[in-house]
Amino acid sequence: MSTTASTQDSGGARTEVQREQLSDVVVRFAGDSGDGMQLTGSQFSNTSALFGNDLSTLPDFPAEIRAPAGTLPGVSAFQVRIADYDIHTPGDAPDVLIAMNPAALKTNLGELRKDGILIVNTNDFNKRNLIKAKYEANPLEDDSLEGYRVIEVELQRLTRQSLEELEIDNRSRDRCKNLFALGMVYWVFSRSLDPTIAWLEKKFAKKPVIAEANIKALKAGYNYCDITGVFQTRYEIQPAKLEPGTYRSINGNSAFSLGMVAASRRSGLPLFLGSYPITPASTILHELARYKQFGVTTFQAEDEIAAVCAAIGASYGGSLALTTTSGPGLALKSEAINLALITELPLVICNVQRGGPSTGLPTKTEQADLLQALYGRNGESSLPVIAPATPADCFDAALEACRMAIEHMVPVIFLSDGYLANGSEPWRVPEVEDLPDLRRAFAERPAEDDDSFMPYRRDEKTLARPWAVPGTPGLEHRIGGLEKEDVTGSVSYDPENHERMVHLRAEKVARIADSLPPLEVTGSPEGGPLLVIGWGSTLGAITGAVNLAHAEGLPVSRVHLRHINPLPNDLGEILARFDKVLLPEMNSGQLASVLRGRYLKDIVTLSKVQGRPFSRGEILAAIRQHLES
């Protein structure tokens, strides 16, 4: 709520309720894993999206399926920022925090902004829960909450009360208390209940009592605010002025899945996914498994190696082949990725990064698999790496990954992360005919007397070899993981041939740079004292920070990389135009080391390795610091 433009309007209000216009607001729902916080947050987001706000979300859930109720590791949270303008991040500090129990309060209070609104469910603040949350004293009873606008609500009692007449047990009643809370939030932000009511009716179509209970609780929460006047102010956030079009809210894994289906259609190739479940990538498998009417084959393999190998087999057979995983799984696939690389078969490897090393922080986000993606294979094995920048960008980046794979006959790594995978934002749905045309012909049966088919004869421009799929008469040939002779593809141990092939494979990837659009530099493209460069999911926080810096009049510019390998042709020149270059990344400086080596330019890392994304404030502070020193 930092950049609010508030007006007062006590016109028709029954009590002294004021109306305030806000430009943006950050709300965080926090509770036990069993409290339905992800659902509650999603509903608030969707309703706001339908209303026309721009928004950005950040779910945050524990590694355990259901850690013991009431404990600190069991807390699940969902943050959403809604705004009447174009925003890029789910916000730094929440303006409003809903805490369903002591553990949720404990883990989330620290980030609530000073003077923020705090809604607490007092019924859960009993001795047992306080102990589980490792509170020595009841924070509601000492001065812990000073400086916040605390709204204490007996959520459990009130919800039960509102559902008294329904023939359900108390446990079922209690399960509705998140809807009661949501109703309250809807009231505060002057939102319609209709989208959520419609959604509940659909979701519980087969259990009408449950639908009714949830809807009743929702309305009760809303009415509770109306009647009791617990809030003195209602807020309004106007719709954002977005580009005209049809919008939907989408998270990164969904956008990626749709992008792959679109690529399948636009290339005319059936999509084949070989995958082994792993957080935070599994939902791509789940989503694509539902698209059988698009001819999508999903194969849940026995492990990551089988998953990528099956994808390689499918690619060999002429499918658009995909494998999805996260860090430890990418490590396992590395040997096989090199098989695709040397046999020059198209393949998309989607790696949704999470906190490492080893099992690490499986449900948290990080960008620390970059060097693994670039270099984690034996021998010289350069392959394209692309990193989407926002949840919705996963759609376009998927198409671009497929373009590179098909056009150049090469495995491509798509480097998403947990934040993109689960975070959502409004997405302007594109027209199908505007999507890139990805058709590429398979090698065709040669004329009867033509013996000249050469599986490693290359296209002059792309250096791609022909895609000669089994079943084509006359193209019978053998490929494999041993080094092959240039042009013929026969096994070759010849020293010079090996060197030539190493160069050809690298050059094929390097040439992709020629097909990339020029980079866009925001700020002063002609150069200046400071450039902030980012890649992948830091786009939002960096853009937000640079916008804030511009508002302060700071001379900072910004450029964002989507293609990590090959690097864009114009990058070197751009870097050279700036005195200082700052690179925020959610690792210890991985891309910085690559760029430094490539361009011999001193690039300063702003590192964050905490399993959560940058805030704008962190980056803004670094910008200020580097402009001063």
């Binding site: 026309g52 919008y247 008469p473």
Partner: protein, 338 residues
Amino acid sequence: MSEQATLTRKDFQSDQDVRWCPGCGDYAILKAVQSVFPELGIPREKFVIVSGIGCSSRFPYYMDTYGFHTIHGRAPAVATGLKVSRPDLEVWVVTGDGDALSIGGNHLIHTLRRNVGVKILLFNNRIYGLTKGQYSPTSEIGKKTGSTPLGSVDAPFNPLALALGAGASFVARSVDIYQKHLVETLRQAAAHKGSAFVEIYQNCNIFNDAAFAYMTGKAERADANLYLEHGKPLTFGADGDRGIRLSGVGLEVVRVGENGVTEDDLLVWDAHAPNAALASLLAHATPPAFPTPVGLFRAAAQPSFESQVVGQIESTIEKQGSGSLESLLRAGETWTVD
């Protein structure tokens, strides 16, 4: 367009020099495969040989079909992706005892469990050939090799018992130099709809010479082999008077005419039994107590994995029509900004 009418063995010989050691059993297997393929009435371009790494896995280079020499142990996984996405192809996997049972053991058992319609030929020479002679998971206990100078201490896998334990629908065994038998076994494998697992005893004359001499030797052959033929009683021996009968839950070697045993007491071989119990028993019949059974252990009709995967896709499209990308992109709750 299809050339099957006129295919001969020559059509399946590639122009590559065969690079196995002189005398290697792999040659005989190559010959057998090249004899069977032209018989099958399938166009040459429909065949794909997928292999892992090992001497045996060089196989695809010598076949003038499509071929994929993949990485160590992973051929069944690559073949699964290929077959599921292209059920029209004839996918054959060639693998070794190290490739299939050591590094690739998991892919093998999962492929068999799923009943993916690929034929798996396991060249079992009971040694790692290509890496110069370390013991393998099928080497006998006490095997002295570079990596086990005092002899190996771990019991080998029984590949057929393992395959049956994994739920394989087709299991057979043959021997490199039993050319006619091998050809017939390959034919049966070709005819099977799901996964066909064929163990082929193969002599590595460099690192494990004569590993199968106990049964393939001229003197031994008649008494040391038990040829499984569906519907026929299990007899063996130079005079054909010895046989196998059930005894409790086990098997027993008997001589017809001795102790009142008649031919009727012998077990009549049923390769198509719905459950794998009998095949398992036979798989556990090992020398010296028993002759080595060769031939078809099990061939059970079960739906193939790929047919069902494709079936789900086809029936969805049949019911819902082919998906519209436009609608998919606009699915869920949308709103419009003008």
